[in-house]
C-alpha cells in the first residue's frame, strides 16, 4: 500500500512538473466550457421563445436540455484527451531507461501499475471537479434536479477511469508515446462505437450493446444508477489493469 502510494506520488510530481497535466486539464476545461456555453445559450433562447407557449415551457427541463448533452459531450472530450494523459506512464519509463530502476526496486508489478493508474485518476478527478463551479451555477438561480447531475459526474468519472486503464495498457506495449496514445484512442473509440454494428446485424446484438461504453454512460447521465453499469465500468477497468499486468509479466522474459 505504501509502495503504491510512493509510486503514485512520484507520478503526480512528474505530471505537475511537466506541461502534460496542465495542458490536458486546461484543454479539457476549454472544450467542456465551450460546449457548456453553447448548450446553455441555446437553452436560454429556447426558454425565451417558450415564454409565450405555456405547454412548451412546462416541458422545458434544465436536466434534459443542458446536463444530459453536457455530460455526453464532456465524455467525448475525455476520450480525446485521456490517452494523452496516460501515454507516458510506461512508454516514457522505457524510453528514459528508468524502468531498469523501477523493476529492480523492491516493488511488485501490481504496486507499480496501481500507483501509476491512481496518479492518472487523481488528475482526472481534479479535471472533472474543476467544471463544478459553472455546472452548479444554475442551482443558484433555479431548481434543477440534483441527482442526475451527481450521477452524471459519477458516470464521467467511471468512464474516465476505465479509459485510463486502457491507456495504461497501450503505454505498456511500446516506448513510443505517440503510438501509445493513438493506439489507446483507437481502442476506446472502437469500444464506444461498437454498438453501431447492432444497426446492421442482429448477431451478438445484445452483447455488442453491452460492451459498448455508450449505453452505460447514457443511463448514468439520465440519473439512473444501475449496478450493471457500475459493474461494467469496474470490470472494464480491471480488464485494462489485468492486460497491463500480463504485459509486464511477459516482458520480464524479453528485456
Amino acid at each position: 500500500m505504501r509502495n503504491t502510494w510512493a509510486v503514485m506520488k512520484k507520478e503526480l510530481k512528474i505530471y505537475f512538473s511537466s506541461p502534460t497535466a496542465y495542458i490536458v486539464i486546461s484543454l479539457f476545461l476549454l472544450l467542456a466550457g465551450f460546449m457548456y456555453y453553447v448548450i446553455v445559450s441555446n437553452f436560454s433562447l429556447l426558454s425565451l421563445r417558450a415564454g409565450s407557449n405555456p405547454y412548451f415551457s412546462s416541458h422545458l427541463s434544465l436536466n434534459q436540455s443542458v446536463y444530459i448533452p453536457f455530460f455526453s459531450n464532456a465524455a467525448v472530450v475525455l476520450l480525446l484527451l485521456l490517452p494523452i494523459l496516460t501515454m507516458r506512464l510506461f512508454a516514457e519509463e522505457k524510453r528514459q531507461r528508468t524502468e531498469e530502476l523501477l523493476f529492480t526496486l523492491p516493488l511488485t508489478n501490481t504496486q507499480i501499475i496501481l500507483g501509476k493508474y491512481l496518479a492518472a485518476v487523481v488528475v482526472l478527478f481534479l479535471m472533472i471537479l474543476a467544471t463544478a463551479p459553472y455546472v452548479f451555477y444554475p442551482f443558484t438561480i433555479t431548481r434543477p434536479e440534483l441527482a442526475p447531475v451527481l450521477t452524471g459526474y459519477l458516470g464521467l468519472f467511471l468512464l474516465g477511469a476505465s479509459f485510463i486503464s486502457f491507456g495504461l495498457f497501450t503505454s505498456s506495449l511500446t516506448e513510443n508515446q505517440i503510438v501509445a496514445a493513438v493506439f489507446s484512442f483507437a481502442i476506446l473509440l472502437l469500444l464506444w462505437l461498437i454498438y453501431w454494428l447492432t444497426y446492421v446485424t442482429s448477431f451478438l446484438g445484445d452483447f455488442l450493446k453491452f460492451i459498448s461504453f455508450f449505453g452505460h454512460f447514457d443511463n448514468l447521465s439520465k440519473g439512473v444508477i444501475d449496478t450493471a453499469d457500475i459493474a461494467y465500468y469496474l470490470s472494464f477497468t480491471l480488464v485494462g489493469l489485468f492486460l497491463t499486468y500480463a504485459v509486464l509479466e511477459v516482458k520480464r522474459w524479453w528485456r
Binding site: 505504501r2 509502495n3 502510494w5 510512493a6 509510486v7 506520488k9 512520484k10 510530481k13 512528474i14 512538473s17 511537466s18 528514459q96 531507461r97 528508468t98 524502468e99 531498469e100 530502476l101 523501477l102 523493476f103 529492480t104 526496486l105 523492491p106 516493488l107 511488485t108 520480464r252 522474459w253 524479453w254 528485456r255
Partner: protein
C-alpha cells in the same frame, strides 16, 4: 554475498549469457570485464532481477531473486549503464521516491537521504531538477540512489562511462570509499579502474565466464603483472575455445 548459478540467457536463438557460475563473497569488490556485447549488462540485469534468466539462479545473501524478489531486491543497490533518472524531478524528490520504496519512512528516510547526499557530494544540487544537471552529477545521483537503504550488495554498470577526466577521478574515489564490508560488482572497460578499486576480477566473453578469481592469482596464472596483457590474452584464448 551474491552468487550466480548456471545463469543462462537466450533471446530467441541468440545466446547472451551461457552457464555463468560465480560467487562474490562478502566485502569483495569484483571488476567485471569483457568486450562490448559479451553479456556483462545481461548478467547484471539477471543478478538484479530486472531480467528473468532462461536457466539458472541469481542468489543474494542466500535468497533466490526469482523466488523472493522483494526480499532480495531490498539487499541490492543497482546503478544501470544509463543512470535511471526522472529528468522532471528535483534531486531530492527523486531520492525521496527511491527511499520510500526501499521502506524508509519519517526521520530514518530524512537521515538516510542526507547521508547519501553528502556521500555522493550532491549538497549543491539537491534542489535542482535532474534535467539541468551535468553528466557527472547525474551519475552521482544514480550512485546516491543505489546507496539508499545501505544495501549489502552494490552492482554498478560502467559507472564512469562518458564522464570527463576530473569526474572520473571523483567517481572512482567515491566507489573506492563505498567498500568496507559491502559486496560490489563493478563492470568497466577501464583496467586501471579495476587495479585501483577491485580485489578480484571476472572476465566474460561471448556470454561465457573465462576467468574468475583474485587479481593476483589471475595475473600469476598468465605469468604477467599487467592486467591489460592478462585481459587481452584471456579474451583471445576465449575466442579460440
Amino acid at each position: 554475498m551474491i552468487r550466480a548459478e548456471n545463469l543462462t540467457k537466450y533471446y530467441g536463438n541468440i545466446r547472451a549469457v551461457e552457464d555463468l557460475t560465480m560467487e562474490v563473497p562478502d566485502g569483495s569488490i569484483l571488476g567485471f570485464l569483457g568486450p562490448n556485447g559479451a553479456g556483462k549488462t545481461t548478467t547484471m540485469r539477471m543478478l538484479t532481477g530486472y531480467t528473468t534468466p532462461t536457466r539458472g539462479k541469481a542468489i543474494v545473501e542466500e535468497i533466490d531473486i526469482q523466488r523472493e524478489p522483494l526480499r532480495a531486491k531490498r539487499l541490492i543497490g543497482y546503478l544501470p549503464e544509463v543512470p535511471p533518472l526522472y529528468p522532471e524531478l528535483k534531486v531530492r524528490s527523486f531520492l525521496e521516491f527511491v527511499a520510500e520504496v526501499k521502506g524508509l519512512r519519517g526521520k530514518k528516510k530524512k537521515a538516510e537521504i542526507e547521508r547519501v547526499v553528502s556521500q555522493a557530494g550532491l549538497e549543491k544540487v539537491v534542489h535542482r531538477r535532474i534535467r539541468n544537471l551535468s553528466k557527472g552529477y547525474r551519475q552521482r545521483v544514480g550512485i546516491a540512489q543505489a546507496l539508499l537503504g545501505d544495501p549489502k550488495v552494490l552492482i554498478l554498470d560502467e559507472p564512469t562511462i562518458g564522464l570527463d577526466p576530473k569526474e572520473i577521478v571523483e567517481i572512482r574515489a567515491l566507489i573506492k570509499s563505498l567498500g568496507g564490508g559491502r559486496t560490489i560488482i563493478l563492470s568497466t572497460h577501464i583496467l586501471q579502474e579495476v587495479t585501483s578499486v577491485c580485489d578480484s576480477i571476472a572476465i566474460i566473453n561471448e556470454g561465457r565466464l573465462i576467468e574468475f578469481g583474485k587479481i593476483k592469482e589471475v595475473e600469476e596464472k598468465y605469468g604477467s603483472t599487467s592486467l591489460e596483457e592478462v585481459y587481452i590474452s584471456a579474451i583471445s584464448r576465449g575466442g579460440e575455445a
